[in-house]
């Protein structure tokens, strides 16, 4: 009897880098075309976001924010991927992906209001193409698929990008979204920030697949694995995926290997599942330090610039958190009135109990 040629795709995929940890361009072909001003802007946003994250963690501990998911370490994936988009492109985030929303146009105080459980946090300004952060892991992947179909039907050369983590790639919605995007050839980018852990569950226990990029194969779309601590690799991958999408070539899955320096949330103790040694190794790949080295060599950035941006970020965060704190509290009648376009009679009656 002939042996059935069972095969599992066991080869890992290489994570593509553009910038070495000491700030040298090691992959010229993938280096995105960026002006000096753009380079400085990217650095500005990354430093700003790190400072804001530091402050947000403190604000959370002081009880001035509600649920907050730290982002430090993921600045390259978050800021790089958003930077590669156009303003009309649509961002469908997971709960951690607040920086993408803010750099795409959501005012920071609204992000704080969202964290504080205030509805105005989700009242995205007109012209800002983002959804509110998604709590259900993977639901946003399908929203992006629908939004992308909207672009396609409107014959609008725009793209929807959606984010999840390595844990999110195990959800049924992830497979359904990839498969739909493949079958309908939709302009959508599935961006997985693989930071090695789904809360405490390590990647090795998440999937037997060697990479998340492999999962694109079954959906018939391209998948790529990149160095998520390298902002140039991120920008290049997203730019090219967006270009494919705009030309009608369909969806792309991007797996960005990254690391979150802080725990999953403020109520989580990462030392229970991550070693100091591991954290140290990733610290050496810090995306901000790496970009700083590159920019310093080009004479575009100095330590003073970093300090200046930090001060600016602190001042902005202080002002925006105050604005959030001063925003009028929600009311139950207001809540009831936002359930439907026209409040039905039974809800009008229930409203009266609170007036």
């Amino acid at each position: 009897m002939t042996r059935v040629p069972y095969e599992v795709y066991t080869e890992d995929v290489e994570a593509l880098s553009v910038l070495s940890p000491d700030g040298e361009v090691i992959n010229k072909e993938m280096m995105p075309d960026l002006t000096d001003d753009q380079l400085k802007e990217i650095m500005y946003r990354m430093v700003f976001t790190r400072t804001w994250d530091d402050r947000a963690v403190n604000l959370g501990r002081q009880g001035r924010l509600g649920f907050y998911a730290p982002v430090s370490g993921q600045e390259a994936t978050m800021i790089g991927s958003e930077f590669a988009l156009q303003k009309e492109d649509f961002v469908c985030p997971g709960y951690r992906d607040i920086p993408q929303l803010v750099w795409h146009g959501l005012p920071l105080y609204q992000a704080f209001l969202y964290s504080r459980g205030h509805q105005h946090g989700g009242q995205i300004p007109e012209g800002v193409n983002v959804l509110m952060p998604q709590i259900i892991i993977g639901a946003q992947i399908l929203h992006a698929t629908g939004i992308a179909m909207g672009f396609k039907l409107k014959k609008q050369a725009n793209v929807a990008i959606t984010y999840t983590g390595d844990g999110g790639s195990s959800e049924g919605d992830f497979y359904e979204g990839l498969n739909y995007a493949g079958a309908f050839k939709l302009p959508v980018i599935f961006f997985v920030q693989n930071n090695g852990y789904a809360i405490t569950t390590p990647f090795a226990k998440q999937t037997a697949a060697k990479s998340i990029a492999h999962k694109a194969v079954a959906a018939g779309i391209p998948g790529i694995k990149i160095d998520g601590m390298d902002v140039f690799a991120v920008i290049s991958a997203v730019q090219q995926a967006a270009e494919r999408a705009r030309k009608g070539e369909g969806a792309t899955l991007i797996e960005a290997v990254t690391y979150r320096f802080r725990p999953h949330s403020l109520s989580d103790d990462a030392s229970k599942y991550r070693s100091k040694e591991e954290e140290g190794q990733w610290n050496e790949k810090d995306p901000i330090a790496r970009l700083a080295k590159y920019l310093e060599k080009k004479g575009l950035w100095t330590e003073e610039d970093t300090l200046r941006v930090r001060e600016e970020a602190k001042a902005t965060v202080n002002e925006q958190i105050k604005k959030a704190e001063q925003t009028e509290k929600m009311t139950i009648p207001g809540l009831i009135d936002s359930m439907f376009e026209v409040t039905p009679k039974h809800l009008e009656e229930q409203k009266a109990d609170f007036e």
Binding site: Q119, I124, M132, A139, L142, T145, G150, L153, Y180
Partner: protein, 325 residues
């Protein structure tokens, strides 16, 4: 005026809206070329093209998510879930995502989506094709649940649902698709969502019901009339929200009521109707309000479903019980 069965009336509603509004889309499993497993969308793809009426890969959650995303983009999707039992796969997208979108976004976004699904027993369908899950959806804030009982209502209610800027869950009883023909106006008209219909006037007892059970109640009322009992029948048409005003007005007249539903007895629409009657009409009652419903079991296999589903005899027995209380 044309004579249509309920299936044709539903199709006609979609045709009217597809013609009127280029943002209306229909999608789901097998809805395109063949027009769905019950042929409800038959011919529409040919008429309106594959961009507006299309088959999806087999994945209910993705159908829900697609509807949500297209709604955000300004389209008015009609998403078909092939059979009611499959909605569990899409429940997050229906009741967590679409139903909460307006509230979550403080009105910035809305989901003008209609989820259509066939349901209901008595046709010897496979398991999980028939269950009455309206109570489950009705319990979810932010979504309306509509169940027509006749072709005229089906068309008017569906047009109103498509035009509604909030999500609507539209349930079509399998046993009504071909049950009978009735006069259905051509072109556009709407039947207001959230408004019940007094389908038969009476003075002795109110029978509050919806969907196929309107016809079961009518058969019971015919028999009761021979026995000298005049039953008033209220067709809810929308089970969320419930039109309690029409119910209260009827009870003020009859002082007695029963609620008839095909679904399991506990915690469903009937229980909600009775709770609201207690709040608003208790002192007008001469007897407790009884429920006629399926027992609290899984919907049975085809062999005994006719015994499980409420019959005119069970409705008559309940009416006699409240009359003799």
């Amino acid at each position: 005026m044309a004579q249509m069965n309920m299936k044709e009336a539903i199709r006609d509603a979609m045709r009217v809206e597809l013609t009127r509004d280029p943002n209306v889309l229909i999608f789901g499993e097998d809805v395109g070329n063949v027009g769905g497993v019950f042929r409800v969308t038959e011919g529409l793809q040919k008429e309106f093209g594959e961009e507006r009426i299309f088959d999806t890969p087999l994945a209910e959650s993705a159908i829900g998510g697609l509807a949500f995303g297209l709604g955000v983009q300004g389209f008015r999707p009609i998403a078909e879930i092939q059979f009611v039992g499959f909605i569990f796969e899409a429940l997050d997208q229906i009741v967590i995502q679409a139903a909460r979108l307006r509230w979550r976004s403080g009105g910035r976004y809305n989901a003008p989506v209609v989820f259509r699904t066939p349901f209901g027993g008595g046709v010897k369908a496979a398991e999980l094709h028939t269950d009455s899950l309206e109570g489950l959806i009705a319990q979810s804030p932010g979504i309306k649940v509509v169940i027509p009982s006749n072709p005229y209502d089906a068309k008017g209610l569906l047009i109103a649902s498509i035009r509604d800027n909030d999500p609507v869950f539209f349930m079509e009883h399998l046993n009504l698709y071909h049950a009978f023909r009735a006069e259905v106006p051509e072109g556009e008209y709407t039947v207001e969502l959230g408004k019940a219909n007094v389908v038969r006037e009476g003075t002795d007892v109110s029978i509050i019901t919806y969907g196929l059970m309107v016809h079961t109640a009518t058969k019971a009322a015919d028999q009761l009339e021979k026995d000298g009992i005049k039953a008033e029948i209220i067709d809810l048409r929308t089970v969320s929200p419930i039109d309690i005003d029409t119910i209260v007005a009827s009870i003020k007249k009859t002082n007695r009521a029963i609620v008839v539903q095909e679904a399991q007895k506990s915690s469903g629409v009937a229980a909600e109707v009775i709770a609201q009657i207690n709040e608003k009409a208790l002192l007008h009652l001469e007897a407790p309000v009884l429920r006629v419903a399926g027992p609290d079991t899984i919907f049975p296999f085809a062999q005994i479903e006719d015994s499980w589903i409420p019959t005119p005899a069970r409705v008559i027995a309940a009416v006699k019980k409240v009359m003799e209380f």
